[in-house]
């Protein structure tokens, strides 16, 4: 198993919001849902690479700001009739700190 990377304290991510984490080959969007779980997905919608981090979060989904595709944060899959999937990364909260796994 690869290492857990420390990101930020949980309170630095707004509830029902997200923060962008920049990595070498792109960005990861780290979301905090209303039940204080965290999810990390590649910050690109499977449709036209819209920045999912900028979308509206509800339940465990985010709606892409460009064309309203709805993406499941757990699986990275597009919901409804749309088809596509974005990469997901493991994420967790421990002692109030958010960690993600890059591979």
């Amino acid at each position: 198993m690869s290492d857990w990377k420390k990101i930020a304290p949980l309170e630095d991510i707004p509830r029902l919001g997200s923060r962008v984490v920049e990595i070498e080959d792109g960005s990861i969007a780290v979301f905090r849902t209303s039940d204080d779980q965290v999810f990390a997905v590649r910050d690109a919608c499977p449709h036209k690479n819209g920045p999912l981090s900028q979308g509206i979060v509800a339940g465990h989904t985010v709606t892409c700001p460009l064309h309203n595709w709805k993406i499941d944060l757990e699986s990275g899959e597009a919901l409804g009739p749309d088809e596509g999937c974005t990469n997901t990364f493991a994420a967790k909260v421990e002692d109030g700190m958010v960690y993600i796994q890059l591979s």
Partner: protein, 811 residues
């Protein structure tokens, strides 16, 4: 242990109820389905296209066997239930199979009515009801030559058309003197008959069948007047009878159908019934749309939500004969005291008739051009007062068919490659194909699957027309009460009222009070609620950035590459050399790749990286600029012309007044974007008559215009009134703006809002009632105290910094 639900009847009404139930309570029941036919649920209203060879059976299957499996439903096909044992709560099928139930749903449908004349049981005499009938017709067409269809109603004509396409010589026998007498008036029926005769069908009107002739197979018919006709096939399409035999045998109370109450329960409360087998408030229904409404109600109660009621349906009809456009709804034969509006053009073969009483549509019949059928039907169902547009109503909804579609209103005549949705490049063929292969029935379904009309929405009317002409009577019209989104049953108006009357001051309170179905709402309702709360409680509600679309959260317009655009406010479009210099400096400093002068007389700076936004705003703020709100559902710009200061035609100081209006209104959040303009004379160079609020200066004062739109659907403003002073202009503008802010639905521009509530109502509130006008203006100014805090300056000073700064991996 889960309760057991048994569905008797594997047709559209029953399975639709299951679909609705699974959406509401997927785990509630262990479900078993019995169907008499050997197929999974198919789209019965598509039988005519199958007969006509336009579709295959596979294409009209709505739920394949995999669907039943995936939802854990046990399906028995080709095995009808023959007995209900209500004492022991079980059903017994023809095969002897017994299944117990806790709840039973009857959806046994209907049977074709076979006229009780001698010989009606001969081989070769069939109904037109299921796949077996269609197979029999196609088979008969291979060997036989002459077909007779008894019944000139919807079903009979579709059968006749299909048989004729299959090569048969078809005669339609009808008892009445006009075709489709339950759906058409004399004029439309005559046009229809003529069109069908041109296609080769023959008709025997006012003809009563006395006997079916033949020994071991039908050979012909004899009529009441003694005349005879040859036939190799006879199709009886004179009506349907609810199939209530099973229910009657089980002792359930039946009249013309299985009698149910408003919650779709029979006299045995464990047994529900939906669809064509049902009699509700004395009515039986043979069209699909009412069945779907019933399905929703039954599912709601099966899911133990216990709130929905079925209160009957108004139905509309379309004939699915390719190339013939026909529509009817409501009471289309005028009675005494009704008024009739008629448009008739024999050269184009167009006939439209509206029956009107007290300025409300009672019924509609259309032939040739049915583009506006859905619109008329909506007006009928909603009981809309049409006095405001009565003089043009027969020409159709003026905003349909524009956006490049010209005056093309005959949807049936469009070719498959005609582009319907210009935003998403969706053709008519794409839409028809999706409707048929995916079994779509609603506008929302079509939007989700094809994206047609899902962007700007200007082609909505065309998409609806295609939907209704493709699925015929199965098309589910927009309900008159439209919920805000899937998270709630409540309409926009109900939400607005609840927020005000019950003093709901945060989103959680709205969710709780109105029993929202989802814990966090969704991307549709949250921005709406955030706006309504802000508009109603400006001084108390705390704006929720997470419920705002990204543009309003980041105070810039997100572009397709994820960068943002920045538009500094320039009041009234005026600027100074130092303003322009400051903008030029900012562009160079932050490497803005492109600048553009906008339609609203501002300067747009494109391609700004999100993390640069607060820095740039600081520089702009230091130079005296505030946000231009070009990204928001907000007051955007006041466009002005040169005015009397320079222009030789100018009558008033249009630029000065524009600046005052912009100073009054900037920063205000709105249901949708909101644009103003001031023109200095009736030449109207600032295009004030296509703005949400436009001022046209004249020598004696100021004309105030409202509800214009120059975008998706061009709409010229309505004249609100004329006033004499600039102070009056500001007061009327503030009052109108506030009325729109308080009463319009979120994402509804002023143009559709004015059309929805009517100009008379707005005049009454703002012109006739000075007290009301001043109160509205006062409330607008209170809201502005909170709203006129420059969001750019605040963010340049560090507010919401997390929005703009990416995180770094620290270990």
């Amino acid at each position: 242990m889960k309760e057991r639900l048994v569905l008797v009847g594997n047709g559209m009404a029953g399975v639709r109820t299951l679909e609705e139930l699974l959406k509401l309570a997927p785990e509630e029941y262990e479900i078993t389905v019995f169907g008499a036919e050997p197929y999974p649920n198919y789209n019965r209203i598509m039988l005519s296209p199958v007969l006509a060879g336009e579709k295959t059976i596979d294409e009209i299957i709505l739920n394949d066997r995999q669907w039943y499996k995936a939802n854990g439903i046990t399906l028995y096909t080709g095995d009808p239930v023959v007995e209900i044992d209500r004492v022991n709560r079980k059903v017994i099928a023809e095969s002897g199979l017994e299944v117990s139930y806790d709840r039973l749903l009857l959806a046994t449908g209907s049977n074709p009515f076979i006229i009780p004349v001698p010989g009606s049981d001969l081989p070769g005499v069939i109904g037109f009801r299921d796949i077996a009938d269609v197979d029999a017709m196609i088979e008969a067409a291979k060997t036989g030559n002459k077909a007779v269809v008894i019944g000139g109603g919807l079903l009979g004509l579709e059968a006749a058309n299909g048989l004729q396409i299959n090569g048969m010589d078809v005669t339609v026998v009808h008892l009445m003197d006009i075709l489709m007498e339950r759906q058409l008036d004399r004029m439309a029926a005559g046009l229809l008959k003529k069109s069908l005769e041109e296609k080769g069908l023959k008709f025997l009107m006012e003809t009563q069948t006395a006997e079916v002739l033949g020994e071991d197979h039908v050979t012909g018919l004899r009529f009441a007047d003694g005349s005879e006709i040859e036939a190799d096939l006879v199709v009886m399409a004179v009506g349907i009878r609810p199939n209530m035999e099973l229910a009657q045998k089980a002792g359930l109370y039946c009249e013309r159908g299985v009698v149910v109450n408003d919650t779709m329960q029979t006299y045995d409360p464990r047994i529900y019934a939906v669809g064509e087998c049902v009699q509700h408030r004395g009515e039986t229904y043979g069209l699909v749309a009412p069945l779907f409404e019933q399905a929703k109600v039954a599912a709601n109660h099966l899911a133990r939500m216990g709130i929905a009621r079925y209160e009957g349906s108004v139905t509309s009809t379309k004939l699915k004969v390719t190339g013939i456009d026909l529509f009817s709804a409501g009471e289309f034969n005028e009675e005494e005291g009704d008024e009739t509006l008629v448009l008739q053009d024999p050269a184009r073969n167009v006939y439209k008739k509206l029956v009107v009483k007290d300025n409300r549509i009672k019924g509609a019949v259309m032939f040739g051009d049915t583009m506006d059928g859905t619109w008329y039907f909506q007006l009928l169902r909603e009981g809309t007062d049409i006095s405001g547009f009565r003089d043009t109503i027969l020409f159709g909804q003026h905003d349909l068919g524009d956006a490049g579609h010209g005056d093309e209103t005959r949807v049936a005549a469009l070719s498959d490659d005609a582009e319907i949705c210009g935003c998403n490049g969706v053709t008519k063929g794409d839409i028809v194909n999706a409707i048929q292969t995916k079994g779509l029935f609603t506008l929302d379904d079509v939007r989700a699957h094809t994206k047609a009309s899902a962007s700007c929405g200007s082609c909505t009317g065309l998409v609806e027309a295609i939907l209704s002409s493709t699925v015929g009577e199965g098309y589910e019209e927009k309900p008159s009460k439209k919920p805000v989104c899937g998270c709630t049953e409540h309409s926009h108006d109900e939400v607005i009222r609840a927020i005000a009357e019950h003093e709901l001051k945060d989103m959680r309170a709205v969710f709780n009070f109105l029993e929202w179905k989802t814990p966090d709402g969704c991307a549709t309702c949250r921005p709406a609620l955030n706006y309504y709360l802000l508009a109603r409680w400006p001084e108390e509600y705390r704006d929720d950035p997470q419920s705002r679309f990204i543009n309003e959260r980041a105070h810039g317009n997100i572009q397709k590459d994820g960068t943002y655009s920045v538009v500094p406010r320039m009041f009234g479009g005026l600027c100074t050399p130092s303003d322009l210099r400051a903008i030029a400096d900012v562009c160079e400093k932050y490497h803005v790749p492109e600048m553009k002068v906008t339609g609203g007389q501002r300067i747009d700076l494109f391609g700004v990286k999100k993390e640069d936004l607060p820095l740039m705003w600081k520089d702009l703020s230091d130079a005296g600029f505030v946000s231009g709100h070009a990204y928001g559902k907000a007051m955007r710009t006041v466009k002005t012309c040169a005015g009397k200061k320079w222009c030789r035609f100018g009558t008033q100081d249009s630029t000065g007044l524009g600046v005052k209006l912009e100073e009054l209104t900037w920063g205000s959040w709105m249901p949708h974007k909101f644009k103003l303009a001031v023109s200095g004379c009736p030449r109207n160079c600032a295009e004030a008559t296509i703005k949400d609020f436009g001022v046209v200066c004249v020598d004696s004062g100021y004309e105030l215009h409202i509800g214009g739109n120059g975008g998706i659907k061009v709409r010229v403003t309505d004249l609100l009134c004329k006033v004499e002073t600039e102070e009056d202009v500001l007061e009327y503008c503030g009052a109108f703006t506030q009325m729109y802010r308080e009463e319009a639905h979120y994402l509804e521009r002023t143009a559709p809002w004015v059309e929805r509530v009517g100009l008379a109502y707005i005049k009454e509130r703002i012109l006739d009632n000075e007290e009301e006008r001043k109160a509205l203006y006062e409330r607008f100014k209170i809201g502005q105290k909170v709203a006129q805090v420059d969001p750019w300056k605040a963010r340049a000073e560090g507010e919401a910094a997390h929005e703009f700064v990416p995180l770094k991996i620290s270990a």
